[in-house]
């Protein structure tokens, strides 16, 4: 493989095609850290936690590390245990320390020791307390998902065993995990945070945990301008005073519940299309806590023997998936028949109604659609057929 190809593939694997440029300066320092030693004024733990890429770690108290009970089982996982302990606790090494072949080996042992102790420490009350301070200061960053509206995330691992995967970020609003935005976290082991911490954290601080149900804010918001809609959205997500979850063990924060609705020329992409939405369930919340009980422990609908009212269900979903933009959300309030009509017209709409733009679109929207789609040629027919197979003949004329 020639060097240029290697470069190309490395880029592809690291997946950092964008966004890391402001971190480069920091990463240069990163190279030197393994061989540098903490200055005398700083404890090893403070120094370790201040390194670039170690922002997610909190400082484990020395008395926690000194308590053998907390270290049970770790000594078999860490080589040069005694020396690593001395390094982490800033204890002067014994006279016979000279038999250690290389100080960098002890350094990596010390890092492993600290990381594994850290995994346990952040499950204790003082550990959770340190982490909630970092959380509220935004040290862990926020969810990259647009409709999570900047919900803060916590670090988590996908395994409790070291060496398997790097640290990830858990968002309590979408209950999903994300790759940290900066590549400097790609060297941090996820096991140093573990699989349990993120969820114990939100069980402990329920006021930080978004509730599993969500109802769009009052329709009055829909008449406001788009600018004030962002205001109302952040208001609804940050006013715990008016919010109540009947489950005392559940999340006590109002969720950010919008689900993205894809549109083509202002028309919702129908689920009837092959490229139609298939994943909205992943982000969907019921409007009320009661609705969660309509599904049994095996994931089946209770009282669903002879099906359900399909249209009613679709309408329910539509309400939950109102658009960010309240102007565009107006058409979601249509009754069933109109809803059906709209879906039938969706693709034809992109052709036929493009110049009229009936759905909450201003006159400023693209008037060039017919010309623009000319080049799609044969695709046009097929696109129409894909949509609502049996009902499109009249639209063609």
């Amino acid at each position: 493989m020639d060097p240029s190809q290697a470069e190309f593939e490395e880029e592809a694997i690291s997946g950092t095609g964008e966004g890391d440029e402001n971190m480069e300066g920091v990463e240069e320092q990163d190279d030197g850290y393994t061989s540098s030693t903490p200055t005398s004024t700083l404890t090893w733990i403070s120094w370790f936690c201040s390194l670039p890429g170690h922002e997610y770690f909190c400082e484990v108290t020395e008395d926690f590390i000194e308590d053998d009970f907390n270290l049970t089982g770790l000594n078999t996982m860490v080589p040069f245990w005694k020396e690593a302990m001395e390094m982490v606790l800033d204890v002067e090494p014994d006279e016979d320390a000279s038999k250690i072949p290389d100080v960098s080996i002890v350094e990596s042992s010390a890092e492993m020791l600290y990381g594994l102790v850290h995994q346990r420490y952040i499950l204790t009350r003082p550990g959770l307390q340190s982490m909630v301070e970092k959380y509220e200061a935004g040290i862990f960053g926020s969810c990259p998902r647009v409709y999570c509206a900047g919900c803060n995330v916590v670090p988590c691992g996908r395994s409790d065993l070291p060496g398997l995967d790097t640290v990830k970020l858990f968002c309590p609003n979408c209950n999903d995990i994300y790759v940290p935005p900066s590549s400097r976290f790609q060297g941090v082991d996820g096991a140093f945070f573990g699989t349990t911490f993120a969820h114990l954290f939100f069980q402990t601080y329920r006021e930080l945990s978004p509730a599993p149900f969500w109802r769009a804010s009052t329709p009055s918001g829909a008449s406001l301008s788009p600018r004030s809609s962002t205001g109302s959205m952040s208001r609804s997500s940050t006013s715990p005073g008016t919010f109540f979850n009947p489950n005392p063990h559940g999340g006590q924060k109002r969720a950010a519940g919008y689900v993205y609705v894809p549109r083509i020329y202002g028309f919702k992409v129908s689920e009837r299309a092959k490229s139609g939405p298939r994943m909205q369930w992943l982000r969907l919340r019921p409007e009320n806590a009661d609705e969660l009980d309509m599904v049994d422990w095996r994931g089946r609908w209770i009282d669903d023997d002879d099906g359900y009212d399909e249209e009613e269900e679709e309408e329910m979903e539509d309400k939950r998936m109102e658009d960010f933009d309240p102007d565009a959300a107006d058409d979601d309030d249509d009754d069933d028949e109109e809803e059906e009509e709209e879906e039938v017209q969706e693709i034809s709409g992109s052709m036929r109604h493009a110049l009229e733009m009936p759905v909450g679109q201003s006159a400023r929207t693209n008037p060039t659609v017919p010309r623009a789609l000319e080049g799609l040629g044969g695709g046009r027919l097929r696109m129409v057929r894909q949509w609502a197979p049996s009902r499109h003949v009249e639209v063609q004329g």
Partner: protein, 301 residues
Amino acid sequence: MSPRVRTPIILGSSLQGGNWVCVSIDFWSFFFSSWISWFLSSKGNEYFCEVEEDFILDRFNLTGLNNEVANYPQALDLITDQLDDDIQDEFRGSLDVQARLLYGLIHARWIVTARGLAKMLEKYKRAEFGRCPRVLCQQQPLLPVGLTDIPYEKSVKLYCGRCEDLYSPKSSRHGSIDGAYFGTTFPHLLFLVYPTLIPPKSGPADLGPLSTAAGASSSGAGAIAGELARSRRRQKEEAPMIAEGGGEDINTANVALKAERYRPKIYGFQVNEIAKLQRWQEAMRDRQVKRLEEMETQGAT
């Protein structure tokens, strides 16, 4: 009409910020550097593709934009490199802002044409819009999208075809680009027109034929340049780019069942309220799958 003779040549590739970027310029812009090629090469403008001059010069495609852009005639002259040289420097500065707005609005219209889609598809296949931050999307390349088609309202977002969700760009220089320059329609039209490119819901991201070709040949960037030249030739011939679609047999009714999801656990046990929500969500999923499969069989008979 511009006196230029458009003879695209591939000059090779250059290393830009760690990415191999193919630089293709015509003779005119090589010697004089056109406004568009300058704009496209500016830092932060990586999401934009080149709008072909024919498209800009067809006044019909610009219908209504004169109401959106101040100093519209001069802004148009600037982006088509026909601005008088004796124009005052202070005016040029403000004109540049208007030219960017005009180019962005034209761009939003261009990328929903057949040729514009094809251009953005090349960038998508090279993952130039970044990759999905969701761990279970396994580095799925993203596509830019707007939340509104009206300028100055919302910044550009990134759409993942695998989880079908929106993410904010990692970099602030991309986070400040106007979403209206990409529009609400683009990624959804792309997957409508190219259904074979709808990403699978599980497994590693398939980068499609472009990157496969580049990967198979050890000449790396050279192969990409070759592919670019080929696709340019295809465009010039006005060949139906749609041929890549041909997804008559694709059935997406139950693809959601293959999607992986994260299950939060405390000491190995599922968290009660989250598990309940996830069961409800999966029941909603199953209900949709059932609905789509019924539709499928009804359509078949």
